[in-house]
Symmetry: C2
Subunit: 295 residues, 2 copies
């Protein structure tokens, strides 16, 4: 029975690898963090951690960009990342060859979305957008019951937003590619650039600062509602967890939509746009993905 | 054999109903337009047209907002449209009860997307965004081989864009809901408001006008690429067909992305963002949807 078999979970992030074992019902048994250094050193440590655990399958949520379509010749490789040592590293292959068990592989944000859909506040829904706002902004999306991949995977953290005239961040934002994208204006680096090194959490008591961030988030929420028609939007990440921007953005988003979208979901916006499972959705989503790989 | 059976196709638009018969291979046999007036009068004429054609199934692409999820209690009804006489009219039910054959039902833009995927330039792809720019802006989306519905259906014509400082349209755009949405700034009513009643086609020789429209379109294309990760974007509708904005927007979109998305598709942007099947994708998509309903 798949539910009784031990499953491995790997959240492969740019700064740390979270390794865990657990079960298909989302229960985590053991959990350990390994620093992300060079690909070889890091993956060797990851493989060693999992080697004698007796796991029957592994679910991997990887930092992007990465190839998540099993039909792609690049499947399981990290793509054009600014972390040059990791470019074109075969993350999935290097792990699967060593552990020799079925592995599921997707982006960290798609896996977090799966975690919310399987165990969290989006249980049983077919169309869900998961957004994380931390050192970067990423979106995982479930559409018609399937995680969205497309030609690569969504990179919706980089959608353009309109600059608030009050914004003092300067010409360049926190994103090296785009001066006016969501990530550049609300993720960690942009926030620190704007407020002299202070984090969003440190600015949480400043109403004007929160109003500024919430306005950018509201623009993005409107775009996600119009593009994905999700049944629920779940928001995680440090910037969202340590500030009041989610409730502020909800209100602003409803004002911007201006009555255009009339659905039971949007009409109940406080349960439509919600905060996430306190950081556990990623590792629990990896367990769900690992359990799927067993089938 | 499904392919030999005659199939009905109905593009149910806000100003006209295009009724056709044809085959699952996309061949159109007969085609006639009926003006859209009151729901009762219009649907009676539509039903009368199809009544003695001997069609085995019907595919309907309807104007929105409309309920396209078969599990919804509102399935097949028009929703909160500005055309008040049509609000909550049971379009699908009124037709299916009379004709008594299997019917497929989706939005006009999703059906046009299906037409491009089945017969047009997006054949065989699994992730495609179809955008029409005419009297309004609408988007139909295929994700992982399925047309996107979600809580209702995408309404991506209304995503916000950043105003070009050169724009003389004034405070209010052509959209009664949003002063800065794509539809309000590039669809027919906004274009006419800005340029003293002139259409986009009449402005097609004015480079600054075309540059303005293309800049808005490019912002939207960037959003669609980042949100949907489509394998191809197909653009139809009068504004796109009668102006050079698609080629202009392609260039601008590549500049805005600024090398962030590196895929074979985006690298070949001239075949990635393309004009559509000259207005036939809607009715051919209805045939494809009707053929699916037979299965």
């Amino acid at each position: 029975m798949a539910e009784q078999q031990l499953i491995g979970a790997l959240e492969a992030g740019g700064t740390k690898m979270v390794c865990a074992t657990g079960y298909a019902d989302g229960m985590v048994l053991e959990c350990e963090q390994i620093a992300t250094t060079t690909p070889q050193e890091t993956v060797e440590a990851v493989n060693a951690w999992f080697a004698n655990k007796g796991i029957a399958a592994l679910g991997i949520g990887a930092f992007g960009p990465t190839a998540v379509n099993p039909a792609s010749p690049q499947y399981g490789k990290i793509l054009e990342t600014p972390k040059t040592a990791w470019r074109y590293f075969d993350l999935l292959g290097t792990i699967q060859n060593e552990l020799d068990i079925p592995c599921g592989y997707d982006t960290d944000v798609n896996v977090a979305c799966l975690g919310e859909v399987t165990f969290g506040c989006a249980q049983g829904l077919t169309d869900v957008a998961y957004l994380t706002i931390g050192t970067g902004v990423g979106a995982g999306v479930l559409s018609g019951g399937q995680l969205v991949h497309g030609m690569m995977h969504p990179e919706a953290g980089h959608i353009l937003v309109t600059r608030d005239p009050r914004d003092t961040i300067g010409e360049h934002s926190g994103c090296p590619f785009h001066d006016n994208c969501l990530e550049g204006l609300i993720a960690g680096p942009g926030v620190k650039k704007r407020w002299g090194g202070k984090s969003a959490g440190e600015m949480a008591d400043d109403p004007e600062a929160m109003d500024l961030l919430a306005g950018y988030l509201a623009q993005a929420l409107m775009t996600f509602i119009l593009c994905y028609a999700p049944q629920k939007i779940v928001i995680g990440g440090g910037v969202a967890d340590h500030t009041p921007i989610v409730p502020l953005a909800r209100k602003k988003c409803a004002e911007m939509l201006n009555g255009y979208i009339v659905t039971p979901e949007v009409n109940d916006i406080d349960t439509y746009i919600v905060n996430s499972l306190e950081g556990k959705q990623g590792i629990m989503g990896c367990l769900a993905l690992g359990a799927q790989a067993l089938q």
